[in-house]
């Protein structure tokens, strides 16, 4: 649904920005893994595509608020970063398919790279409610890019931090720490969000341990509602066939082992409808 939300508070979280927006309707329908899209630049904006944003927190106050986390990547997110309390935002959400939740109180490791961590906190709340054990592995290039370390420590049984420059926690990537965390916590499932390369590596580790892994991908998209067809990636379906599926509509959450990470950014030759597989012409 589309909502004109009012910005309640803005804050900087290390290298990132967070906006709390009053968005009744979106907040109450939100499930962990859902995202929202926001129009940028105001009423007469020259920026026509929406920005897909991660929901870090959902609260029932003021009729329902969502906290959105983003990093400034261009003029659209720069405009968002300039929003102040009482400004209004055009939001559409909740969008996408949420994380599937385990039926039983199992042990879950939540892996977040960069600000991909943000989406894992509503998930952690939900898992804890169900009696699951939650352990976090959060990482980034440097200390100021690790998102949510404090909140993770409050929520989780254990929190392992990694930075590539060694400025916080262990030196290295999240996947360097992940195998020992999975082994120590005797994890039953892994949930991950972050850049594609991290998700590929996390999936590889989970598959080594033979435990299910759910990944939330961050693909660039124009509409967020499934009509623009720009956010596709190759994913293997239940029938074993690879299709170019939309991160916004079929995702953003996928079973990690189903995503053909090595082929993201290409059309695999064996994908349904790939060139040479029947339709030769381009359009």
């Amino acid at each position: 649904m589309q909502v004109t939300g009012t910005v309640l508070t803005t804050r900087r979280v290390d290298a990132y920005h967070a906006l709390t927006v009053v968005a009744p309707g979106i907040a109450e329908r939100h499930r962990p893994g859902h995202f929202v899209s926001v129009a940028v630049g105001g009423a007469h904006s020259s920026m026509v595509t929406r920005r897909a944003l991660t929901v870090h927190d959902v609260k029932a106050d003021y009729g329902g608020t969502v906290e959105l986390v983003f990093t400034v990547r261009g003029p659209g997110t720069a405009w968002l970063a300039e929003r102040r309390a009482r400004d209004t935002l055009d939001l559409v959400g909740p969008l996408g398919r949420p994380f599937p939740l385990p039926r039983d109180p199992v042990h879950c490791v939540l892996v977040g790279a960069e600000y991909g961590s943000a989406v894992l906190f509503p998930l952690a709340d939900m898992l804890l409610e169900r009696g699951c054990r939650v352990d976090f592995v959060l990482g980034a290039a440097s200390a100021d890019r690790v998102f949510g370390a404090m909140r993770a420590r409050r929520l989780a049984e254990t929190t392992t931090l990694t930075t590539e420059d060694g400025s916080l926690g262990l030196r290295g990537r999240v996947t360097d720490a992940l195998p020992s965390v999975i082994a120590d916590t005797r994890a039953d499932a892994v949930y991950a969000c972050g850049p594609m390369e991290s998700l590929r590596a996390v999936t590889a580790v989970a598959m080594e341990f033979d435990i299910p892994v759910q990944v939330a991908v961050e693909e660039s998209m124009a509409c967020g509602i499934g009509v623009c067809m720009t956010c596709v990636l190759p994913v293997i379906g239940d029938d074993g066939a690879t299709r170019m599926v939309r991160a916004c509509a079929e995702g953003p959450v996928f079973r990690g082992e189903r995503v053909r990470f090595e082929d993201v950014g290409t059309i695999p030759f064996d994908a349904l409808g790939a060139p040479g597989g029947g339709a030769r012409h381009a359009g």
Partner: protein, 327 residues
């Protein structure tokens, strides 16, 4: 006293309740938008271009935002005609949603085969022929750029489709003479014309120092191309005033749609605006109606092509108003 404006319009002999349709490729086959509003409120839903075989499309990145617009290189991703006929068209037909089916092919034979498959399918309000596809039998030259091959496609499709289903030719703006291509299509039997498809554009990423799109070039859409659409509709309406035109290209507001109507379009397609606002079609229709009403129009049809009247000439709809008020 404000009287509701009669927004009905005709695409050849087919009546649409209002002039606003989705643009091909911007509303998939309707289901996604149906989550937001009742599709019956559209003048018609135009589907993405349906192809014979399933198509995986182009690699990513497929999209780049550009000043007042965006580039896309999706490559007609879709499930193919079988799935379209099995699942997508029946879904629309069962709900009685006015549907303009867009088709895309690589040869005259392929377009003809698609028309044959659709000829007896219930629920096809009109058939739109996407001519901006490369002709595989002519070194990949785009049909829409060659009046002759475009006419060949239209003539073949027209001969196959039932007489009561209008055939609409979708034209590209990046041609030497759009009026010549339009005339060839009309001579070949096109009942209506739709313009414009996306002109080709390109953007380069100054970080990676590479083209922004994996396919290098892509279709430019959004407000940036509205003036191009207005020009094309104007020129074609001037040359072929009796041919119904669907104006498409960068329509974001009712005022944009009104420009296309005044240039000669009797229907207006909304594309990129849908990416920004899922309710864009409804909003644009409402805004267009308000603009017409504010200017004293009682019928949308009275505004179609009105900008072509000679300078200084009074608008007929206003004269009628005056007569009524003095009587």
């Amino acid at each position: 006293m404000a009287v509701a404006v009669d927004m009905r319009t005709f695409l050849a002999h087919v009546e649409l309740a209002n002039p606003v349709t989705t643009a091909a490729g911007c509303a998939s086959a309707g289901r996604e938008l149906a989550q937001f509003f009742d599709l019956h409120r559209l003048g018609a839903l135009t589907t993405r271009s349906v192809t014979m075989a399933p198509r995986a499309g182009r690699p990513t990145p497929r999209m780049a935002e550009t000043p007042s617009g965006m580039l896309n290189a999706v490559g007609l991703q879709g499930p193919g005609i079988d799935v379209f006929l099995e699942r997508e068209l029946p879904w629309l037909a069962q709900r009685g949603i006015r549907t303009i089916v867009s088709i895309g092919g690589g040869s005259v034979a392929e377009y003809s085969e698609l028309a044959r498959r659709l000829a007896d399918a219930p629920g096809v309000t009109a058939l739109e022929v996407n001519l901006s596809c490369p002709n595989m039998e002519d070194r990949g030259r785009v049909f829409a750029r060659e009046g002759g091959t475009a006419a060949e496609v239209i003539a073949s499709v027209r001969s196959i489709m039932r007489y009561d289903v209008p055939v609409v030719a979708k034209l590209a703006p990046d041609v030497a003479d759009i009026v010549a291509v339009a005339r060839s299509c009309v001579d070949a039997g096109a009942d209506a014309l739709c313009m414009i498809n996306n002109p080709l554009g390109m953007a380069i990423d100054t970080e990676t120092l590479r083209p922004s799109l994996a396919a290098v070039t892509g279709g430019l859409s959004g407000p940036a191309i509205l003036p191009l659409a207005v020009r094309c509709v104007w020129q074609v309406h001037a040359a072929l005033p009796g041919v119904p035109l669907i104006g498409v290209g960068g329509v974001m507001t009712g005022r944009d749609a009104f420009q296309l109507v005044l240039a000669g379009a009797c229907a207006v397609g909304v594309g990129t605006a849908l990416f920004n606002d899922p309710y864009a079609c409804l909003r644009i229709e409402r805004e267009l109606e308000d603009l017409l009403q504010a200017r004293g129009f009682q019928r949308l049809a009275d505004a179609v092509g009105l900008a072509h009247r000679p300078p200084g000439g009074a608008a007929r709809h206003l004269l009628v108003d005056t007569e009524e008020s003095t009587s």
